[in-house]
């Protein structure tokens, strides 16, 4: 068999541990590139980076080269994918190649060993127990039980035909643990391939009150969902008067054939699932040039609160007075500069406020135009004692939803579970064997112990010592 055929050669190549170790190194080293060059970013960003690295003259060339090599989206490039395929092939073939050998070791029945072999083991111990064989047997069996072993016993034998040997092992299946880890990685890779092939990942920005039957891919292509989703409401809460969001929630409805089939509120870390699609709360923002509703609670002095909703440019009267308020401006995030001039400091709905211009038929009536700010109750007070509270605004904000369909995710999760089991067994459990030889003499029984473990020899040795020492000292 001097010349192997091509299949054997390829098989041989993929069974080599050298390849595995080389792939670890190559994947690790090339991965670094993608953490430096920003992935899927607008070209200007990376050109700026290259300018810093190579100077302005060579930056465009450097960018073009990087782009051609796939470095601007390297984790999805053909060569990186090829490396991952090699990795998966290596992992599978290596494991398949080794499994029969491991199976033989696992299936090998444990046999008693020869008296002379007791000295050859890495873990060995000798002691003697006062009393007859039956007493000694009881002590040894208790000790083995403490070690979690259920031993077999030989018939009496040896030179005097009175020697008895107990032998046991446990944890032989832990020898498969490494392969459980390997296959769990394959599982995770398969799951991710299923996800990429049959799944969908996109987004949907849905203004309050609007309905959509499509989501969008990253390339802004429409993707029909097969049902409709409506954003009934969206709200964000902040920590105190800071701009740090504490929680944001969307109230969503799923509509199918004109009927609302599901209503659910979602927040970050608690998505909505429907027909294979999952909607994650990922962000929010303000709809440009929105003509939404302003909702106010108007309370005349000593009177009853009335809720009204109106658009910017519309007016309302405070019941029981001659005062009319007109909403002239809406700001999603009101602030004042150092000259006390109002301005909107961010595009987000951080500090919503409306400017209310107050007029009155009665010239003498006290009135004051000004900003009513949702966050600050002291701005709600009118000079005549009535209050105008900005309760909410509707239709100004959109909720940013991440939309995903991933039929492979359960395969990935199963892989993760297998990996956890495999890791635990591989690193914290081992295949342990023990042989105990009882050699009865006149008033005592000499005991010889030999033991083996494929991992953590000192640990096993310590346990054997402590168990046997404690029992024999008591006797």
């Amino acid at each position: 068999m001097a010349d192997k055929n091509i299949v054997e050669k390829v098989w041989g190549f993929f069974t080599s541990v050298k390849l595995a170790v080389a792939l670890f190194a190559i994947i690790a080293l090339t991965s670094i590139i993608g953490t430096v060059i920003e992935q899927n970013a607008p070209p200007e960003k990376n050109i700026k980076l290259f300018t810093k690295m190579f100077g302005p003259a060579s930056a465009p060339t450097a960018y073009k080269t990087a782009d051609v090599l796939g470095l601007t989206d390297m984790y999805h490039s053909w060569w990186f994918t090829a490396m991952l395929v090699c990795f998966a092939a290596n992992l599978t073939i290596c494991s398949i190649d080794r499994l029969p050998r491991i199976k033989r070791v696992v299936d090998e029945p444990l046999k008693p060993i020869d008296m002379t072999e007791f000295d050859k083991y890495g873990i060995k111990k000798e002691l003697s127990i006062e009393g007859n064989v039956e007493e000694a047997k009881a002590v040894v069996l208790t000790a083995l039980k403490k070690l979690g072993m259920t031993p077999n016993a030989t018939d009496p034998g040896g030179p005097n035909n009175r020697d008895i040997q107990f032998y046991a092992h446990k944890g032989r299946y832990t020898r498969y643990a490494v392969y459980v880890i390997h296959f769990s990685i394959i599982f995770i890779l398969i799951g991710s391939v299923i996800g990429v092939t049959f799944g969908f990942s996109g987004y949907l920005s849905l203004p309050e009150g609007e309905t959509s039957s499509v989501a969008f891919t990253r390339q802004e292509e429409e993707h029909p969902l097969g049902f409709s989703i409506r954003c009934d409401n969206f709200a964000v809460w902040f920590y105190g008067t800071s701009d740090m969001p504490k929680e944001y929630i969307s109230w969503l409805s799923i509509i199918e054939n004109g009927r609302t089939v599901l209503k659910k509120s979602i927040g970050v870390n608690s998505p909505l699932k429907y027909k294979g699609y999952t909607f994650y709360q990922s962000g929010y923002g303000v709809v440009p040039d929105a003509k939404g509703l302003i909702i106010l609670n108007v309370t005349p002095k000593g009177g009853k609160t009335e809720q009204i909703s109106l658009h910017v440019g519309e007016s309302f009267t405070i019941p029981g007075t001659k005062l009319t308020g007109k909403i002239t401006t809406f700001s999603p995030a009101l602030s004042f500069d150092k000259d006390e001039r109002p301005y909107t400091y961010t595009d987000n709905m951080n500090n919503p406020a409306v400017f209310i211009e107050v007029t009155s038929e009665n010239e003498k009536e006290e009135k004051k135009s000004g900003w009513v700010v949702k966050r600050y109750p002291n701005t709600w007070k009118m000079p005549d004692g009535s209050t105008v509270e900005l309760v909410d605004n509707y239709g100004y904000q959109y909720t940013g939803l991440q939309v995903r369909k991933d039929p492979g995710v359960w395969v990935v999760y199963a892989g993760c579970l297998f990996m956890a089991i495999g890791l635990y067994s591989a690193f914290f459990l081992s295949h342990k064997k023990i042989w105990v030889l009882l050699q009865p003499e006149k008033t005592k029984v000499n005991v010889k112990i030999a033991a083996f473990t494929n991992k953590n020899k000192t640990g096993y040795e310590g346990v054997i010592n402590s168990v046997f020492d404690r029992l024999t000292q008591r006797v």
Binding site: F24, N269, Q402, Y413, L423
Partner: protein
């Protein structure tokens, strides 16, 4: 007494313990050894109390969350895990030699906190971080990091003891890696002296890190620091054998170090895989709908994972022993440091909560 005072006591305690451990290492005085352990243990207790108090304080502030959510808290927790692991090893193996090598890592982390001026406030959590996965993911990641830190210390000790010639690549590796740590520690010491003790401070300066040396505003100073750094590397390389001679008298065997090195990696690796990678992925899946997005932090933790996978396969299947394995475990910890700090400083991504 609030948590900042207790943290302060712990910080000072660790620095003092570091000095005594180094003193013990040089003079081999038994009393010194015992006092080093006492100081380190007291500092550790103070830090434990401080962590518990900070947790309670967050509840009193109405925020209520485990003290594990920003760069400051995670560094503190890393030091806590590292010292716990170290004290366990010292107690179990009755050997104080590592103290002089582990406490500087703790000192480095604590110095970094003070000099970069990262926020120590108990801040509320943005919605993405309000998850039960946070506790499991962060705790396990840092237990693993601490285990890798201990592997680094044993790996370096191994190299100090096992190398003979100055031209050996393993010798060059440990002297250069060791001096870089020494240089960073010294540069931080200089920053501390200049900005904290002398009171030369400027409101404009957000981070003092290396401002007294490499990042100094005066060009000659920066250049001098660079030359100084090379001088340190050169002298460590030239006189590395002195350290070896000192270490030899402690009767540490190479087998013991190699065994311990593997033991801590064998604890760190499964915990890192499960808590760092898998729990992180599950959490990302729940919060953002992507279990893996090749964000720089994720990629760097994968790189770290690959380095330790390399270590395990090289050791078990390729029969790598001794120096090569010790070098690998040290490289592993360097990638850990980069995953943890480097990514936050140099790169951006989903984990930007830990920003400086």
């Amino acid at each position: 007494m609030g948590s900042p005072i207790l943290f302060g006591i712990a910080e000072v305690g660790y620095f003092v313990a570091m000095m005594i451990y180094i003193g013990y290492f040089i003079f081999k005085n038994k009393t010194m050894g015992i006092s080093a352990t006492t100081v380190a243990a007291a500092a550790f207790l103070s830090q434990t109390a401080a962590l518990a108090m900070r947790w309670m304080e967050s509840y009193n502030m109405g925020i209520g969350r485990a003290p594990l959510t920003n760069l400051y808290e995670s560094l503190i927790f890393f030091v806590w895990c590292l010292m716990l692991g170290y004290l366990i090893i010292e107690f179990k193996y009755k050997n104080r030699t590592f103290g002089a090598f582990v406490t500087p890592i703790a000192g480095l982390a604590l110095g970094f906190i003070d000099l970069t001026g990262i926020s120590k406030e108990i801040e509320p959590l943005v919605p993405a971080l309000q998850s039960n996965w946070l506790l499991a993911h962060v705790t396990m990641s840092f237990i693993a990091y601490a285990a890798f830190g201990l592997a680094f210390a044993t790996g370096m000790l191994y190299l100090v003891l096992s190398t003979e010639k100055r031209t050996e690549s393993s010798y060059i590796f440990w002297t250069v890696a060791g001096s870089v740590f020494l240089i960073v520690l010294a540069a931080m010491g200089a920053d501390y002296f200049k900005f904290k003790m002398m009171g030369v401070s400027s409101e404009m300066l957000k981070s003092y890190l290396f401002k007294a040396t490499f990042r100094s505003d005066s060009k000659p100073m920066a250049l001098l620091s660079l030359l100084g750094a090379f001088a340190i590397i050169f002298s460590v390389w030239r006189y590395g054998y002195v350290l070896k001679r000192m270490l030899k008298s402690f009767g540490l065997s190479l087998e013991f170090l190699e065994d311990l090195n593997y033991k801590v990696v064998a604890v760190g690796f499964p915990i890192f895989t499960l808590g760092g990678l898998i729990f992180g992925a599950i959490w990302a899946d729940q919060a953002w709908g992507v279990y893996w997005s090749w964000d720089p932090k994720e990629t760097w933790s994968l790189i770290t994972w690959l380095v330790y996978a390399f270590y395990l396969h090289a050791k078990y299947l390729r029969g790598w022993r001794g120096n090569k394995i010790a070098v690998l475990s040290s490289i592993g910890f360097i990638t850990v440091i980069f995953t943890y700090i480097g990514v936050n400083i140099l790169l951006s991504g989903l984990h930007s909560y830990g920003e400086i």
